[in-house]
Symmetry: C2
Subunit: 349 residues, 2 copies
Amino acid sequence: MRNTMATRRRDMARPTIYDVAHRASVSPATVSKVLRGVETVGADNASRVNKAVRELGYRRDPLAANLRRNRRALIGLIVPDFRNPFFGALVAEIEKLAEAGGYRLVAVSSSEAETMEHRQIEALLDWRVAGVILIPSSAGLASVRRLKAEAMPTIIVDRVAANSPFDGVGVDNAEASAKMVRHFYDHGHRHLLVAASAPDLPNMAERIEGVRAAARAVSEPMRIEILACGSSLDSATSAMARRFERGTPPKAVFALFIQATLAVLREVAKLNLRIPEDISVAGFDDFEWMQVMHPPVATVIQPVEELAARAWERLLHRIEHPDRAPAKLRIPCSVDFRGSIAAVSGIGR
Amino acid sequence: MRNTMATRRRDMARPTIYDVAHRASVSPATVSKVLRGVETVGADNASRVNKAVRELGYRRDPLAANLRRNRRALIGLIVPDFRNPFFGALVAEIEKLAEAGGYRLVAVSSSEAETMEHRQIEALLDWRVAGVILIPSSAGLASVRRLKAEAMPTIIVDRVAANSPFDGVGVDNAEASAKMVRHFYDHGHRHLLVAASAPDLPNMAERIEGVRAAARAVSEPMRIEILACGSSLDSATSAMARRFERGTPPKAVFALFIQATLAVLREVAKLNLRIPEDISVAGFDDFEWMQVMHPPVATVIQPVEELAARAWERLLHRIEHPDRAPAKLRIPCSVDFRGSIAAVSGIGR
DNA sequence: TTTCAACGATATATCGATTTACAATTCAAG
DNA sequence: CTTGAATTGTAAATCGATATATCGTTGAAA
C-alpha cells in the first residue's frame, strides 16, 4: 500500500524517502542508510540512491528524521531583548554555529520578564529542542528548575550565577569593571556614580563587586554611589533624571548597561553639560554609535564572538555528556578608554 | 501493544496522549478531540480527560500534532541582519503576534547575502513552515522563485518590489524622503549628498526616487548627489571617506540607511566638523542614540509595530486564501526634524 | 416493530522518516 | 559438503499526534 502511495505522490510537490526508494529500486530503509552515511550499503545501491535523490530534488524532512529519536535538531536560544544589538550579535553568531553543526536555531525573547521566560521555556520543551542557551531575565531559579527537571542540556550565557546547576559562559565582569574604575581613579576621580539595572542579576552583581573591589584597592578613598535603574530605557532615564535633580550632579558616571549609558547621555544633553569637561562617562558594551560621539564614549567591550563560540562548544559537549559536572567559564573583556573620561586636577568631591 | 508502551512510559519524563488516554480510560482519539476542542465528546469523558491532563502535566507536542496535516505551526522570518535594532524590533513584534496566533516564529538571518538567503529559504521549506515573512537581501528574484514554486504563503516586508508576485508590506519611502528633502530645501540647502546602500534594492530605489521628485518639485534648482555605499558599515565608511576627501565637502547629507548615518557621523568626528554649523545631517530609521547626540539627529521614523502588524495580518490572510491576487501595502512614516539640520543664509553651493 | 439518522467513541491508517529484527546471500572454516 | 559468521537488504514497528472509517447506541420516523 505504501507503493501505491509512492506512485501517487510522484506528481506532488515534495518527494519523500519512498519516492526515492521506488526510483532507485531499493527499500526506504536503504535510502535512509545512504542519507545518514551508514557504511553497510552496497556501492551500486548507494549510487543509485544518490542519483535518484539528485533527479527528484529530494530533501530530507528534518522533523520527521528526528521524530523517532525524540530529540529534534533544534536548539532554543532565549534572549532578553532582540532590540539590543548585543543580543542581536549573539543570536547571529550562534545561528552561524548552529547551522554549521546541522542544527536549526530557534531564537525567542523573554522581554526581560520572568513569566515570559517561563512560557518560552515551556514552549521550547514542547518542541523537544535538543538543547537550550539561556540568557536569564532574572535571578530567579524557577525557570531553571523546569529545564533541570526535564534534563535539558542547558548553557547559561552572560548572566551566570555562581551557584547555578548549569554550565555557564560569561565575561569577567568584575575584572573589566575594576579596570574601568582604576582608569577613573588614575584620572583623579574620587567619586563615581555607578548605574546598574537590577543588582540581583548575576552580571550586575559582579560588575558592582568589581567596582567596589577596585575602589577598596586604591590608596586614596573613593566614594562609590550605586544607582538602581531597572532594565528598561524609560526606567533608567527617570532614575537618572531624579538623581541629577537631587544634590550635586556627579562628575563621573559609569553606566553598567546600555540603557543606563543612554540615560546618562540624555541627561547630559538635557542639562547641556559638556563631556568630558563637566562630566566623565563610561559604559559597558560596545556599540557603533559610541565612536561617532565627540568625544567617543569609553566602554567595556565584550567579546561576543568568543562568548558565542564557547557557549556553543559547551552545549554540544553537554548534549554528548549529560552527566558531567557543570562548569563555569569566564572570558576576559577588553576596555577601550576613549575621550569621554577627563583628567580632573584637584580631588573630585 | 500500545497499552504496554503506555504503561511502561508512565515513569518517563513527558507523558504522551496515550498516557492521558489510559488514565482517563478513553481512547487516544478521544483525548485528541478534547485537546483540539472538537465538540462531539461526552461531558464526563471530556472532564476525565481534562483531569488526566492536569494530573499528568501533559503538554501536546506541537510538531507531532501537525505532522499529519503537513503544515507545521511554524512561521519563518528572514531578516538581513540581527545586529540592526530595526530588524530586531521587527523580530520582537512579529514574535509577539506569532505567539498570540499559536504559531512559533523561526527567525533566521541572511547576512545581506543572496546565497545565504537561498540556503535559509531551503531550510525553511524543509521544515515545512506554514508561511514565510521575508526581508530580501537583494533585488534578485531567484530566491523568490523557490517560494513561489512551493506555493509557500509569503509576505515581503520593508524591501517591496512593485513587480514581485507576493504580498508586500512596506513604508511610503518616497513620501518620507521627499518630506525630508523639502525640509533641507526650506532651510536653504540647494545641494544634498544622498547616501544609499545598493540602489537596486526596492526601498532604496524608492527613497532615491522620493528625493529626486522633491528636488524637481521645488522652485529653485537643487543639486542631488547620490553616493552608493554598499550595505555594510565598513563599505559605507570608506565610501564616505573617499567622498569627503574628494572635492568640496557637502554642507548637507541625507543618509538613507543606518550604516550610512554612522559613516557620515564618523567622518564628521574625524574631520572635527560641527553639526549643524558646518554640516547638516539627516538619517533614515530612528535609534535611541540619535536623541542623545547634540544636536539630536533628524530622521525618518518607520512605524515598526504597524509594519509588523500588517505583515502578520496579511500572512494569515494569505495562508487562508492562497489564490487571491497579491497586494502591496504602504504605511506612512513620520519624520522628526531634529537639531542636526541648520538653516543656511545664502544659497548652498 | 423495523429502519435509519445522529451521535459518541474507537480502531486503524497516516504523516516521513529511523530503528530493529530478521531474512537472504556470500564466503571461509571445519 | 555442511556449518557458522559476516555482510547487505528489507519488512515492520515506531516516534506522537491527527484524520477517517466504522461500530454500537439511542431515539425518532415510518
